[in-house]
């Protein structure tokens, strides 16, 4: 079974690469776009922390930028491997192409990804953001943070849970497409919501902290992995946050499955 899904993954990757290489200019534009976006994000955070006098909600500038760099890697990972499939759901439903996606003998989500492409042209940005993450690892290391194999493993585990939250949010905003004639706002909603995940949790008022931790666990994308890594969370709290992130992702998948089951194949595509 695992071999089957691995072959499926390789097949999508090969098709995506050959398709994307036809549009080589995409790679250049993607690189420019994401570079400007990265500069704008980091620049905005630097301006904010400077306005706050060098520390914000108990976080130093380097720690804030470390959170932003985790956010950046997660963002690029999502963009490269999941965005193409998930954000074409609305168009697939509207155009009726979803018919043959749902006919495949696969889970509707896997079938959706198999019918779409990875954004291979985004790979340079993924690498750049991994580079930025390493730079901020070195900077917080200079500030006295200790890196061990164990805490890096924990950071990776929590960051993966954060990626699952990203995926869940995307599902929640695209799934209503099954219930409408045409729904085009899902993608914009995803970007608007996830843009909040780059901030440390402590900058938000308590009500928003609670919402972003348990209801819409955006804090799990970058802030909580960093907090656990820096030892700012107890193990009990960390386990609770991990549980809430995974629960949210599971509920999102169920919501998508429910919405897909309501698909009527009657959309006009006009």
């Amino acid at each position: 079974m695992i071999k089957y899904y691995w072959n499926l993954f390789k097949r999508i990757a090969v098709i995506s690469t050959s398709s994307m290489l036809m549009y080589r200019s995409n790679m250049v534009f993607f690189l420019l776009f994401e570079s400007f976006f990265l500069v704008a994000n980091l620049g905005g955070l630097i301006l904010g922390v400077n306005l706050a006098g060098g520390h914000l909600g108990g976080w130093s500038l380097n720690e804030v930028l470390f959170v932003a760099s985790i956010y950046g890697v997660s963002h690029q990972f999502f963009t490269t491997f999941f965005m193409g499939g998930l954000f074409s759901v609305g168009w697939f439903v509207w155009s009726g192409r979803m018919d043959y996606v749902l006919l495949k003998p696969l889970h509707p989500l896997i079938s959706q990804h198999a019918a779409s492409e990875f954004i291979i042209s985004n790979t340079p940005n993924l690498l750049i953001n991994i580079g930025v993450f390493i730079i901020f690892c070195l900077r917080v290391s200079d500030d006295g943070v200790t890196f061990t194999f164990l805490n890096l493993l924990i950071l990776a585990a929590f960051s993966l849970a954060g990626l699952a939250v990203r995926y869940g949010i995307a599902l929640v905003v695209v799934a209503p497409a099954f219930l409408a004639e045409k729904l085009a706002g899902g993608e914009d909603a995803y970007w608007a919501l996830t843009s909040l995940a780059k901030y440390p949790t402590g900058v938000f008022p308590r009500v928003m902290q609670w919402i972003f931790t348990f209801l819409l666990p955006l804090a799990s994308v970058a802030a909580i992995p960093a907090e656990v890594f820096f030892g700012k969370q107890s193990w009990t709290s960390a386990a609770l946050y991990l549980g809430s992130a995974l629960l949210f992702s599971w509920v999102a998948v169920k919501f998508y499955e429910f919405s897909a089951s309501r698909y009527q194949s009657v959309n006009s595509g006009a």
Partner: protein
């Protein structure tokens, strides 16, 4: 004269249809408004926290930042972000071929779509801004304390420059489709530059002087930052006049670029579509 009457009548009908189409997609509107409200609530919390944790800084009081982002959310919301993609697909898919036989110019249709979008979203978002003024303590007081006597005429000028700049620059990106298989790449680059230079995700006047000097020569600054700073009274009359003049130059240059690109593009347009 008859041509002008046809043009005005057709424009009015087209404008009405755009308004109707925008209001048909109520679920998309609801998702947009809710997610943008969430996003701006987070941005406001971040910047409020930043200003609040440093009582020594006097550049932005915490409530002034709340006001800034309330006004920014409105000005960002009324931008017709999809217009470049619409124009690009009209050109690439061949829709332009039948649009050019209509009795009014293709770009006028695109312009009217954007005006209709802006008007629709102004009507939808204005009550939210009013609600913010009513329910957020001290917001109205902060607004009244900052407003300058000239704002009554300065703000409409700033908003007009900003909206025109936004509509034109997106048309420029859209007509790139005459020479490209898709304009998705340039459009995303524009979005990134918009976020960096417009002041929609951070107060634009916090930028270093040299960076602010650069962004003032781009249309993005005029789309959000300029009208918001004008409305908040953060530009004195001399600054306003200088920037308004600079904005007019930027708008004119954008228009000239659009006209040149359109003239060249329509000559090579083959009406085949892909």
């Amino acid at each position: 004269m008859a041509d002008i009457r046809v043009l005005i009548r057709a424009s009015a009908v087209h404008f009405g249809q755009c308004l109707q189409a925008a209001l048909m997609y109520r679920s998309a509107l609801a998702i947009f408004v809710v997610s943008e409200a969430f996003a701006y609530a987070g941005i406001i919390a971040f910047w409020y926290g930043a200003a609040n944790s440093n009582p020594n800084q006097a550049f932005y009081k915490p409530m002034a930042l709340v006001l800034y982002f309330c006004l920014v959310s409105f000005h960002h919301g009324i931008q017709h972000h999809a217009s470049s993609r619409d124009i690009g697909s009209d050109i690439r898919l061949g829709k332009l071929s039948y649009s050019i036989v209509r009795p009014f110019p293709f770009l006028l249709q695109a312009g009217l779509r954007s005006v209709a979008f802006t008007l629709t979203y102004s009507l939808l978002l204005a009550p939210l801004v009013v609600a913010a003024f009513i329910f957020v303590p001290d917001l109205w007081t902060t607004f009244c304390a900052g407003i300058l006597p000239g704002a009554v005429w300065q703000y409409p000028v700033a908003a007009a420059i900003g909206l025109t700049a936004g509509w034109l620059v997106r048309m420029v990106i859209g007509v790139l489709a005459f020479d490209m298989a898709q304009i998705w790449g340039p459009d995303t680059c524009f979005i990134a530059l918009y976020y960096a230079a417009s002041g929609s995700v951070f107060p634009v006047d916090l930028l270093p002087v040299w960076a602010l000097g650069i962004v003032k020569w781009t249309p993005m600054y005029y789309m959000v930052g300029f009208p918001v700073l004008t409305l908040m009274g953060r530009l004195n009359p001399v600054q306003f006049q200088t920037e308004a003049l600079q904005g007019c130059v930027v708008v004119t240059l954008t228009f000239v670029i659009l006209a040149l690109m359109w003239r060249r593009g329509i000559k090579v347009f083959e009406a085949i579509g892909i």
